[in-house]
Structures are given as C-alpha cells and as structure tokens.
Amino acid sequence: MTNKINLFIFAILLSFCFVIFYKGLNNSNIYTPKIKNQKNIPSFKAKDFYSNVDIDSKKIFEANNFYIVNIWASWCVPCRKEHSLLMKLSKNNSVKLIGLNYRDNLSNAKKFIDELGNPYSQILIDNSGTLSVEFGAYGVPETFIINKNKKIIKKYIGPINQKILEEIKLLIQ
C-alpha cells in the first residue's frame, strides 16, 4: 500500500518537473536586463563632446521635455544604421536627444557626426564606459526613453528600426 502511495507522490512530482522543463525549453537562456519599474535618471557629471566642459546631469535634463538618451560609437556598425532614424526623431519638438559617446576616439566620433548629421541637442563623452553603467547599459547601441517626470520608462537594446521608431513616437506624445 505504501509503495503505491509513494509511486503516486513521485508521479505527481515528476509530472510537475516535466512541465517545468518543457516550458523552460522555450525560454531563452541568454540574459538581457529588463526594466521592471520606472527608474530615476542617475545623477552624474560628464564632459560635453564639443566644449570639453563638465556638466551636471541635473542641468542636462532640466527642461520639461521628453528625453531620449542614445548610447553610440563611431566604431559601432548598427549605430550607423539607426542614425537616420535618430535624425528623424530629432525633428520632433516634444523630445530632446542626448547622445552618449561610448569608448570612442574623439576625432573619429566627430567625423561620424559630420558625415551622418547630429540629431543630439547635447553629446556627452563616456570614454571609460562608466557612465553607461550608471544607466544599466552593457553595449552599443542602447536607447533610453525618459518622460517628463524624469523617469526612465523604456529601454531598447540594439539598433532602432522603423517599428521601434513608431513605438517611440507614441510614447513621447
């Protein structure tokens, strides 16, 4: 009798494990950090791209606007692809784009901007990559959408495409 009960218990446990593993197969095993709740903008000081002067984060995000922080580099191939879409976004009056130049050579970065255009109202230099860490980024390109309450509401890892552009346009209305 006890044997049959034990078998029954094991059967239930094993079925449970089976279902878990079956579902687990469909999940990706690569980890990408997600934004769970809206986070505050980190406070930091960074050098401006053109003037080479230190700026405080409070000054950068002063205005009552939507902000988009875009991490880019001249050596990053997908950044080139998304740049034209960023140019389109910059025409939108309700949003200001802030660029974060990640681990880059200043003259190469300037050439990149001269060649493809400057969508950013301000560009910051992040040679060591530590500023990106403050935003919770780990590569390029990454894009953060910040609302008027100065909270980060959405994050995009990888280059922006047309579909994402439409999504952003909806968010910044």
Binding site: N3, K4, N6, Y22, G24, L25, N29
Partner: protein, 625 residues
C-alpha cells in the same frame, strides 16, 4: 559519399537489431531452457559491430575532410592537425551521440559475456532494459541528430572546430567520461532486472560490484581530465567553476560513490537493497538528465552544445519515460529488508555507510538544486537569477568537516556491532592535526576558524589513512588508498586556495614590473606560424623573492578558421607550485595585460584524484590477487 551511406545504414541496422533483440530476449525469457540463447550473444555482438562501423565511418569522413557530410562541414577544416580531425568526431553533438551508442552497445555485450554464471532470466531482462535505452538513442540520432546528412553542393572548406577544443586533454575527455557515466546504464538495467527477479542479494552484489567500480573509475578520471583541460586551456587558472555542465558530471559521481559504498554492504550483509536499486536508477537518470540539460539549450553555459529545442523535447520525453518506467518497477517489486539480518547496532559499519549516504545525498541535493533552480524560477516567476560558486561553497564547506570525521571513524568500525579500537592513537592523531593546523594557518589567513576545522579534519583523515598504509593492512588497501587520496585532495584544494596569489598588470616590451621583492621582466615578442594559426609568443623572465628565476612564454593565437583569438597561458609545473602566466592585448595600445598566478600544490590536486581512482582500481583487481 560511401562512408556516409555506410555510416547511416549501419545505424538503421543497429536500430532494427535493437528491436529484434528486445523480441528475442523476451522469447528467451519465457522459454524453458536453462541457458541463454546463443543467438542473443551473436546479435548483440553484431549490433556492436554496426555501431563501430558507423563510428569509424564518421571518423573516416573527418580524416578525409569530406565536406559533403554536414557534421564534418560544421566542425572541421582542412588545415586542422590530424589528431584533432579525429577527436573532432566526438567533439560535436551528433558525433558524441555515436559515442553514447558505442558505450551502450559495448557494455551490454561485455555484460553478456561476463555474466555467464548469472541466472538466465536476469540476464535476459538486463538485455531487454538496456535495449530499450539503446533503441531510444538510435531513434534520437536518426530522427533529430543524424551525423550523416548530405550537403549539396559540396563546400570546399569547413567551418572549423573551436580552437579551445583543440587540446589533448579535451580530446580524450569525452571517451573516458562516457565510459563512466554511460557505463552506468548497465547498472541501471541490471538493477531493474534484479529487482523484478527478487535477485537483489549478496550474490548479485558481488557480481555487479565490478561494473560499478569500472564506471566509477572512468567517471572520476573523466571529470579530472575536464578540470585539467579547463586549467591549462581556458586561461583563468581555475579548474572548477560550478558551471552547470560541470555540475552535471559531478552529480552521477556523487550517487555512484554512494552506490559503491552501498554495494559493499549488500555483498557482505545483503542489506540496503532499496538504496542500491534507487541509487542505480538515480545515477543513470542523472546522466540522462545531464544529456538533456546540456544539449537542449535550456541552460546558459560556456560548455553547451548548439541549442535545439526539438532535440530537447525528445530527450525530455525519453528521460521521463525511463524514470516512470524504472520507478514503477521499483515500487511494484520492492520488498523490505530481511528482518533478521537488518539487526545492526548503531555503532557499526552499516550505520556509518547509512550516514555516508545521508551526506552524499545532501551534497547531491545542493548541486542539483543549485543547477536546476534557475530554470524553475524562470518558468514560474519569470525571473532570472544566477547560482554560482558562493552558493555551493557556503552550503558544502561546513558539512565537509563532519564528513571527513565520519570517514575516519566509519572505516574503523566492524560490521553489525563494534566499538572504536585504538582510541588512544586516534586521540593522538586528532591532537596532532589540530595543533599542526593552528601553526600552519596562524600567519597565513584571516578566516582562521573556518579553515582550521576543515584542514584539521582533513589532516586527521590523512594521518589515520597514512598509518594504515604503513602498517600494510592489505585486505583494506583499496579503501585506504581511496580515502587517503580524498584527504589529500581536500588538503591540496584548501592550501591551494589559501596560498595562491595573483598579479594583474599592464606591461610594455622591455619593461620590468616590481612587486613584493619579485620582478617580472617582459623580454621580447616572438612570432610563430603553425598549420592553422599564427601566434605571438611573449618571453617573460620572472624572479621571485628568493632569487629563483622562471621563464614563461604565454601565447596569443590567431586561428584561421573560425577566426578566433585565444590566449594560451604558459604554466611551469613543479611538485610544490605552479607558476601561471597569461597574456592579453590591451586595445589600441602597445601594452599587454598580463595575469601572473602563483598556485601552490596544483599538481597534488591531480595526483590525489589519481590516487582516488587507484583505490578503485585496486578494489577491482583485489579478488584476483
């Protein structure tokens, strides 16, 4: 072309033979003859031959660089050295499954030969259960992982094998490891056969012990080879990372070790029958589970094969069918231990082996839960967490101390009822261990209490087993050697962990770097060209505070296919200490980043594991002396 055909059809024939053997074994089971049908032996041998032919066909395709074969195309390249062309055969998913089949069919054939004195019905059933497993694998290979797929048009060149896999230790690591944990299939099959025949007895214990020992020895050495490869090849100076794939090889080892000890009780006293069957089932189940976790892409690890959820589903279903089948048989046929002989005193060898099981099952649960919990959490709560070395260390280390102490006492107890003999000698050894530990650790480390307990316990085991070896009690030499090896292993790991030191710095050619009265001198760079890579060799001269000079030449290799840059550390190994130097480029700079490690007693870690295996080998050869 021909090799592809030969290989493929051999597999199909092997599968058909599997079905045939199932039928024949059932028929023979029901027949009234006293001995097993001779045809069965022949058919099993034939099946083995077909698998060997298939395996050799694949090897031949690799050697010829026959890129019409998809597996060869994906995993090989014309410029690879011959040795790695051959070992590349089993370094990929499809080829390694052929290795699974090879070991499965080999072991059942050897079993049939070596078990002629065993009851016929038991042998038939073992064959049946093993063939169920074998046919499952044939189906898996033929349906999802065929090593003989055609590619047309035939590519001129292959994609190449990942260079970090081109290493001698890694070349032989899979075959040896598989002989270990695939070999547990025969223990699984025979335990199920034995329990249905009410044959889990002393005689069966004596018979199955050698199979357990053989699997155990290969598994121990196989895991060691994997660690050695990680140490020499991966450039980080570590040898165990509690990576999911490593844990998966460790788990069957834990249950197999527990099983080994239970078999000793079974053959002597006929007890612990349930434990033996459950552990046999669990060991092979864990091997299969390991196969699932590694090949399905469900886990995130440096070691995993290419992800394919379709394969995962097949193995998952197959695995659970086997588990349900085996547990069903167990619960249906399990009987209680004989009431008379199960009268053993609490202070006895039987009791200590129960305690050993208790601790082993705990260690197993830590590793198992640590490895699969992230999967459960991800599915149930959609949250991803990591379970890494700190988890395992925190949960395992505190229990190692008492475990080592039990090893000292358990081996001195006799069967049924005992008292501890030579109490005075034990007390002396204990005192020596503690005092020695205190003096050794006083100046070296700050985690005094934690390390003291562990090292004192390990030293205690060390001294007691050493004494046994000197007194030359031959009847127990396999056990003593193995336990001595284990104590040495723990000591080597602990001292290595406490005394290792590391320097990381950026250095230019011609520069000298000073630290702690030692000097690292970056002499020059040499460029080398080999058949499938170019390399930059750094010549370093390192002088330690005693004035001893060691020359190390770490390399940076650029392989041609696939284009991968690897850092090959140079390691100078001596009996007392390993000196380890790895070199990397610093981006956009003339500087090189070097990592220099001084690791005492590394060699003793490998030696102690070999001693452990040697103990097992002695156990295997013992009766024949």
């Amino acid at each position: 072309m021909l090799t592809n055909q030969t290989g493929y059809y051999s597999l199909i024939l092997g599968l058909l033979l599997s079905f045939l053997l199932c039928g024949v074994s059932i028929k023979d089971f029901n027949s009234s003859s006293k001995t097993i049908n001779k045809n069965i032996l022949f058919l099993s041998f034939l099946q083995l031959v077909f698998v060997i032919v298939s395996f050799l066909s694949l090897i031949l395709s690799f050697i010829k660089s026959d890129f019409s074969n998809e597996t060869v195309f994906n995993n090989s390249h014309t410029t690879k050295p011959l040795f790695y062309k051959i070992s590349g055969t089993w370094g990929n998913h499809e080829g390694s499954l052929l290795l699974w089949l090879l070991v499965l069919t080999l072991f059942i054939f050897l079993f049939l030969i070596k078990s002629r004195d065993q009851p016929k019905k038991y042998r038939n059933l073992t064959l049946l259960f093993q063939q169920i497993i074998i046919s499952g694998f044939f189906l898996f290979v033929l349906m999802t992982s065929n090593p003989f797929n055609y590619l047309f048009p035939i590519p001129m060149e292959g994609l190449g094998l990942n260079p970090i896999l081109q290493d001698p230790a890694l070349a032989i690591h899979p075959p040896i490891l598989y002989l270990g944990y695939v070999g547990t299939s025969i223990i699984f099959s025979s335990s199920l056969a034995a329990i249905t025949q009410n044959y889990v007895s002393k005689e069966w214990g004596q018979h199955i012990k050698k199979w357990v020992l053989v699997s155990w020895i290969f598994l121990t050495i196989g895991i060691m080879l994997g660690s050695i490869w990680a140490y020499y090849e991966l450039g980080w100076g570590g040898f165990w990372f509690w990576d999911p794939v490593e844990n998966i090889s460790l788990m069957p080892w834990l249950t197999l070790t527990a099983l080994l000890h239970c078999i000793l009780v079974l053959e002597r006293r006929g007890l612990l029958t349930s434990w033996v069957v459950i552990l046999s089932i669990t060991t092979f189940t864990l091997s299969m589970c390991g196969t699932f976790l590694v090949r399905s892409g469900i886990l995130n690890s440096v070691h995993t094969f290419a992800n394919d959820p379709a394969r995962g589903i097949f193995i998952l279903i197959f695995l659970f069918i086997l588990i349900f089948l085996s547990l069903g048989i167990f619960f249906l046929f399990n009987k209680e231990d004989n009431k008379n002989s199960s009268n053993f005193f609490w202070l006895s060898k039987e009791a200590t082996i129960l305690v050993n099981n208790w601790f082993m099952m705990y260690f197993l649960s830590v590793v198992l839960i640590g490895t699969v919990y992230p999967i459960f959490l991800d599915v149930i709560a959609a949250e991803k967490i990591s379970v890494g070395p700190p988890f395992y260390h925190k949960l395992i280390a505190p229990f190692l101390g008492p475990f080592l102490l039990f090893m000292v006492f358990g081996t001195r107890l006799k069967w049924i009822r005992s008292k501890i003999e030579n109490k005075n000698l034990l007390i002396i050894f204990f005192m020596i261990s503690i005092i020695l530990t205190y003096f050794l650790l006083k100046n070296i480390t700050t985690d005094l209490l934690f390390y003291t307990i562990l090292i004192a316990a390990a030293l205690f085991l060390f001294f007691t087993t050493l004494k046994e070896l000197f007194v030359k009690k031959l009847y127990n030499i396999s056990q003593t050697t193995a336990h001595f090896g284990f104590s040495l292993f723990i000591l080597a790991i602990l001292f290595n962990s406490i005394l290792s030191s590391e320097i990381i710095t950026n250095i230019k050619i011609g520069e000298r770097y000073y630290y702690n009265e030692s000097e690292i001198f970056f002499e020059k760079i040499e460029e080398k060209k080999e058949s499938n890579y170019n390399s930059i060799v750094g010549h370093f001269k390192i002088t330690d505070e005693k004035g001893k000079v060691v020359k190390l030449k770490p390399e940076l290799r650029v392989y041609n296919q696939p284009i991968v840059i690897t850092s090959e550390a140079d390691i100078k190994t001596t009996l007392l200490v390993d000196k380890f130097l790895a070199m990397n480029l610093v981006k956009g700079n003339e500087y090189f980043n070097i990592r220099y490690q001084v690791k005492p007693f590394m060699l003793w870690i490998w030696i102690s594991v070999l001693l452990l295996s040697l103990g097992g080998l002695m156990g295997l050869l013992k009766k024949r002396i």
